[in-house]
């Protein structure tokens, strides 16, 4: 009787443990090396952002990051720094971002936050900053099914795809502009107001099939005002172990 009970309890414990074991093979089955969506939540002021945000540039920005359970590394990276925190407490982590004058406090120096957990989960968020000086080129950006007016810059996160590009991101201006983008990213297509002067293409409305990872595009008008468009294309939203019911 005693022995049977012992065997029963051991089997019970083994069974319970099995149900919580993640199956490594079921993670990323279709994307061996996916670019993950920026989805690590954080709060600035009273607004909660789900991984991606465009904020006005400030001398100090208080960011409350919602740290996942069992986080072992929490990175804060910009174009000029890496702040690393080991084993932060789960819950909210307060980070005060004070950009260095003339190094980080300028156009296009994003703040990237990354959390890595003990189980190998990877979470990240990306924050772009706009100067909002009122002297930038104004444009309308089409991002994830919405047209958004913006002055000087916009940051759009949507689904990307290698080579041919993913979901299109669009931008349009009141007058003709010239444009430039990096060679490693999908090219901009001119949709309206398209002409060419001395071998340089001009247009009023453009579209790009969003590439994978970060891509930066810039536009300049006749008054030399600039609009900066940054896209972040992801190929997977899966950044945690799949829930038990989805395991094979």
């Amino acid at each position: 009787m005693f022995y049977k009970l012992l065997v029963f309890l051991v089997l019970l414990v083994q069974g319970c443990a099995t149900s919580t074991v993640p199956n490594p093979d079921s993670v990323y089955p279709d994307h061996p090396d996916p670019t993950l969506m920026a989805s690590l939540p954080f709060i600035v002021g009273s607004v909660r952002y789900e991984g991606a945000a465009l904020l006005p540039r400030a001398t100090r920005t208080k960011i409350n990051v919602e740290v996942p359970d069992r986080t072992v590394f929490l990175f804060f990276n910009t174009c000029g720094r890496e702040d690393l925190y080991k084993n932060p407490k789960s819950g909210t982590f307060e980070y005060i971002y004070t950009p260095a004058f003339e190094k980080e406090n300028m156009d296009s120096c994003m703040l990237l936050i990354t959390a890595v957990t003990a189980t190998g989960e990877y979470h990240r968020s990306a924050i772009d900053f706009t100067n909002s000086t009122g002297r930038d080129l104004a444009g309308d950006v089409f991002c994830n099914g919405k047209w958004i007016k913006s002055d000087g810059s916009y940051f759009c996160q949507t689904r990307g795809r290698p080579n041919v590009g993913g979901i299109p991101t669009g931008v349009r201006f009141a007058s003709q502009v010239i444009s430039a983008g990096p060679p490693q990213c999908p090219p901009l297509k001119c949709l309206s107001g398209c002409t060419e002067v001395n071998g340089v293409a001009l247009g009023k409305e453009f579209e790009v099939n969003t590439g994978v990872g970060f891509c930066g595009y810039d536009f300049m008008d006749q008054s030399q005002l600039v609009f900066r468009l940054t896209t972040l294309g992801y190929t997977s939203v899966l950044n945690v172990f799949p829930p038990a019911e989805l395991k094979r």
């Binding site: 990237l112 190998g120 009122g134 930066g216």
Partner: protein, 178 residues
């Protein structure tokens, strides 16, 4: 019977976490898989760390190209006037004012500090400057200079070494709204 089983159940409770651990990492292969996954996550994090540097380089190269292209397209033409007048920001010599209500527990005449978070980059904020509360629980005007509006600001007030109050507000272009 229950008395006989009690020590055994206590032993089992101690064994549960051990058995759980044994089960979570069942084999060397599985351990290697977890190590690979953790290393993969670290690699991704480290790759992500340099994305900001790369992106800045992309935009800088774009701007250099646009300046060259601009000369080809518009370089020989006079610069057009701005399409619409741009309102001047608040001159730095005429500060806006913020009215801060003193905390109930503070004495009149007690000094306090202010700290401002999420202020625009071109805002001039006086830090480490002391202000006197007009009266207990009263209101004291503190001049601040903000050039532009933006997201809600958070102003925290410190008396001695203790943060005693927090105000959230929207800064419009020309005035502060508490």
């Amino acid at each position: 019977m229950i008395a006989l089983l009690l020590p055994f159940l206590q032993l089992m409770l101690k064994l549960v976490p051990i058995l759980y651990q044994i089960k979570v990492i069942r084999s060397e292969e599985e351990l290697k898989e977890f190590q690979r996954r953790f290393k993969d996550a670290i690699n991704k994090a480290e790759g992500n760390a340099l994305d900001s540097v790369d992106l800045r380089k992309q935009h800088k190269e774009n701007i250099d190209k646009l300046r060259e292209d601009w000369k080809k397209v518009w370089g020989n033409r006079p610069m057009p006037p701005p399409q619409e007048p741009i309102p001047d920001p608040i001159p730095p010599s005429t500060p806006s004012e913020i009215t801060i209500k003193g905390p109930e527990e503070a004495d009149a005449g007690q000094t306090f500090y202010i700290e401002v978070y999420n202020a625009p980059a071109n805002a001039e904020v006086w830090r480490d400057r002391r202000w006197k509360l007009a009266e207990i629980g009263g209101r004291t005007k503190v001049p601040l200079i903000f050039m532009m509006g933006g997201d809600p600001l958070t102003i925290q007030i410190k008396i001695g070494e203790v943060w005693v109050a927090e105000h959230k507000m929207i800064v419009n272009e020309r005035k502060l709204v508490g």
